[in-house]
């Protein structure tokens, strides 16, 4: 069966510090991968998606970047965090959509920037 991992679970960082969040998927190959951010009481905002190794598409201009160095690894980074980067970060995967499919979400990382 497939599983998705995210770490860390929670993170408190000062403004201006770097960020690296990691997401890994097990039990599937060549998945589409997604990074979302959810502000308190808000819906999911798609930040980045990837359809293959090294292929990153950005949905929202921002202070963040993403990378996919391996098939089942997705990393969200920032060189200098802003207060507005605080939120709940979710990674998700789905099979390559040659047929309709659902997205499967990780447990999330709660990021607080102080």
């Amino acid at each position: 069966s497939q599983t998705i991992h995210q770490w860390p679970a929670t993170l408190v960082q000062p403004v201006g510090s770097p960020l690296s969040l990691e997401c890994t998927v097990e039990g599937t190959s060549n998945p589409n991968l997604y990074w979302y951010r959810q502000a308190a009481g808000r819906g999911l905002q798609l930040l980045f998606y990837s359809v293959g190794i090294g292929q990153i598409s950005s949905e929202v201009p921002q202070n963040l970047s993403a990378s996919r160095p391996q098939d089942r690894q997705f990393i969200l980074s920032s060189k200098k965090l802003l207060l507005s980067d605080s939120g709940f970060y979710l990674c998700a995967w789905r099979t390559q959509p040659w047929s309709f499919g659902t997205q499967y979400f990780g447990p999330g990382t709660r990021l607080t920037v102080l």
């Binding site: 589409n32 997604y34 390559q96 959509p97 309709f100 709660r110």
Partner: protein, 115 residues
């Protein structure tokens, strides 16, 4: 611009009653629509998917309807239980999204079932 709207006000109902949540969309032609459940501090979990040519889909106590003319989906939970209390999100993937599989999510409706 494309927009998905869910009732932002929390829905409070008594245990045993039917909960009905609404998802409306504009400027969009979704191939299918999905519903997810999200508990506090957790990632969303997929519940049901309904295609554009389907009117209704059922799974145990859950029922989803999809009216592409009204551009609306209704999500019903019958015989609701306190354990059904959560935030419910609808999501759309449009025709022509290619191999991206991108979903657009509504902001979610929080359901509170009181014993």
């Amino acid at each position: 611009s494309q927009k998905i709207e869910q009732n932002s006000e929390a829905l409070n109902i008594q245990e045993g009653k039917t909960a009905t949540l609404t998802c409306n969309y504009t400027n969009y032609s979704p191939a299918y629509l999905q519903w997810y459940r999200q508990d506090p501090g957790r990632g969303p979990v997929f519940l049901l998917l309904i295609r554009e040519n389907e009117k209704e889909k059922r799974k145990e106590r859950l029922k989803v309807t999809f009216d592409t003319t009204l551009k609306q989906s209704l999500f019903h939970i019958t015989a609701s239980q306190p354990a059904d209390s959560a935030t419910y999100l609808c999501a759309l993937e449009g025709n022509g999204s290619g191999n991206t599989g991108k979903l657009i999510f509504g902001q979610g409706t929080t359901l509170q079932v009181k014993p």
